[in-house]
């Protein structure tokens, strides 16, 4: 479903989600594991919606920057705001302070966000703050639009495919829970491309796999605030299967590319 990102449209997407969630069984997990094991790779692979949208093409090597740090810090700040009311800017500063304290006390490993922040110069910290404030403010406004009760999850959803050296990651920024079901909201920069739907379905499948009981969210909503649009997919078995197929296809495409490069 494609909608404009307005308060009423977002609430309608949340409230009109299917009532009963679908559940993945052990047989589904086993089937996915078999398929991933058939696409072996020498090292460990990590797949997410972005790799599905790029059809397995590798992105640039990850490095911390104000843009890559903003979501981690912004979401953590909003989580902090839910328990300690303050301004967004103060929450971001507190979060930055905690991260740097972690590095100073030796609890951060090399390559982590804390480690990078601790070595960043003063003006760069300012830019990181500005980016995180942008992200947290935007997410807070979206959350405040919601009529239903929401929470900021403590982390993204991760699922390790047993014996296939594969980790799947689904992005999630807000969770709307009822007694029986949950709806996930995911926020992305830029505007949705043609492969945004498959990306959302991949997130939906990973989120269901990461759930202990295999319960899928009833709806996965992707928001692109810069473009002012939202897309959603329902947590149906057909969408879950489609998401799983796209993930396996991405693994195949990645391996093929790796083989071509080696040749």
């Amino acid at each position: 479903m494609h909608r404009r990102l307005t308060r009423s449209d977002l609430n309608e997407l949340v409230s009109a989600a299917p009532a009963a969630p679908v559940q993945l069984l052990d047989a589904h997990r086993a089937s996915l594991t078999t398929r991933f094991r058939a696409v072996s790779v020498p090292g460990h692979r990590r797949l997410d919606a972005w790799s599905v949208e790029r059809a397995g093409r590798s992105s640039n090597v990850f490095r911390w920057s104000p843009a890559t740090a903003r979501r981690v810090l912004g979401n953590a700040s909003l989580r902090r705001l839910a328990t300690q009311p303050a301004s967004v800017r103060d929450a971001v500063r507190d979060e930055l302070g905690d991260q740097m304290l972690r590095a100073a006390s030796g609890y951060s490993r090399s390559g982590s966000l804390s480690h990078w922040l601790a070595s960043a110069p003063h003006p760069v910290i300012g830019l990181v703050t500005a980016e995180a404030v942008n992200w947290a403010t935007q997410l807070q406004e979206i959350a405040e639009w919601l009529d239903a009760t929401w929470e900021v999850p403590t982390s993204d959803a991760y699922y390790d495919v047993a014996s296939a050296r594969t980790t799947l990651r689904a992005r999630r920024d807000l969770v709307v829970r009822t007694s029986e079901s949950r709806t996930i909201v995911r926020v992305r920069s830029g505007s949705p491309g043609k492969s945004a739907g498959p990306g959302l379905r991949a997130d939906l499948t990973i989120e269901a796999l990461a759930d202990h009981d295999g319960v899928a969210p009833v709806r996965y909503i992707g928001l692109w605030p810069e473009a002012g649009v939202c897309l959603s997919v329902d947590g149906t078995m057909s969408d879950l299967r489609s998401g799983a197929r796209d993930l396996v296809r991405t693994a195949v495409a990645q391996r093929r590319r790796g083989t071509l490069l080696a040749a």
């Binding site: 800017r89 830019l127 500005a130 942008n134 403010t137 405040e144």
Partner: protein, 265 residues
């Protein structure tokens, strides 16, 4: 010679926020009409065909229609503009700026890594670099004095991006607002858009102000309260309340730009 006043005659942020009791209710009805005006206008220009590469409209596209020689579009002018934009981002979160030029360059590098404009900055000789650093410092002083402190409760966001695809992707509108304040969850119009330019204000700046307001309306479906542009060269500031007429004029600006690009193809 650059001279600065001891104190700013006006706080930009105060002027933008204005009197809260006089703010109109949010307008969520106009966005659809404006979108239709744009879609219809683009169809009259391009027709139903699908373009391999879209026509892109930005604030700079609106300026080019007006001026054949724009000093702000020279390489030092563009670098200066980017650096002042970076300093505004730091000011928006209450960071103290010790060395305007060095701080701005450090944040710029952290944001974009390497690009053509940074290479041009690196290629400047010592004299040109020193001249640019002095220039940036002077603009920063003007901006800092006018801006004052931005309270956190006004929710300042800097470098806010917007993208709109129109006519099935044939036309893409892109925009970056330097600073946005106010909440979009209020029942009264609260969003104020602030743009800073390192050039003296002219008709191009007015088009930019309108374009920012139009893009915000299309993106959020809610009309902003005010749009403003500030010149760090002269300390001059223009503020306009946003209404349908202003947005409709911006639609015409966009259509003129699309027409120019289409006829040049």
């Amino acid at each position: 010679m650059t001279t600065t006043l001891d104190s700013s005659p006006l706080s930009v942020v105060e002027a933008l926020r204005g009197d809260r009791s006089k703010r109109p209710l949010i307008d969520i009805a106009s966005a659809g009409g404006l979108r239709s005006l744009l879609e219809d206008g683009i169809f009259e220009i391009i027709g139903a065909q699908r373009l391999a590469t879209p026509l892109v409209v930005r604030t700079s596209s609106l300026h080019q229609r007006l001026a054949t020689i724009d000093l702000a579009m020279s390489t030092p002018g563009r670098i200066r503009g980017v650096l002042i934009g970076q300093l505004l981002r730091l000011l928006s979160v209450g960071m103290s700026i010790d060395h305007a030029f060095d701080d701005a360059v450090a944040t710029w590098r952290a944001e974009v890594g390497a690009n053509e404009l940074i290479q041009q900055l690196d290629a400047l000789d010592d004299d040109d670099r020193a001249r640019l650093a002095t220039d940036v410092a002077a603009h920063c002083v003007t901006l800092t004095r006018a801006l004052g402190e931005i309270p956190a409760r006004w929710m300042p966001r800097s470098a806010v991006r917007a993208t709109q695809r129109l006519a099935g992707g044939n036309v893409v509108l892109r925009d970056v607002v330097d600073l946005m304040i106010g909440a979009s969850t209020s029942d009264v119009a609260s969003i104020a858009l602030f743009d800073v330019t390192t050039s003296p204000l002219g008709e191009g700046a007015e088009r930019s102000m309108r374009f920012h307001a139009l893009m915000h309306t299309l993106r959020t479906s809610v009309m902003p309260l005010r749009t403003c542009t500030f010149s760090s060269a002269t300390g001059e500031m223009w503020i306009r309340d946003v209404d349908y007429e202003l947005l409709a004029r911006s639609v015409q600006d966009v259509l003129n730009s699309v027409r120019d690009q289409w006829s040049a193809k």
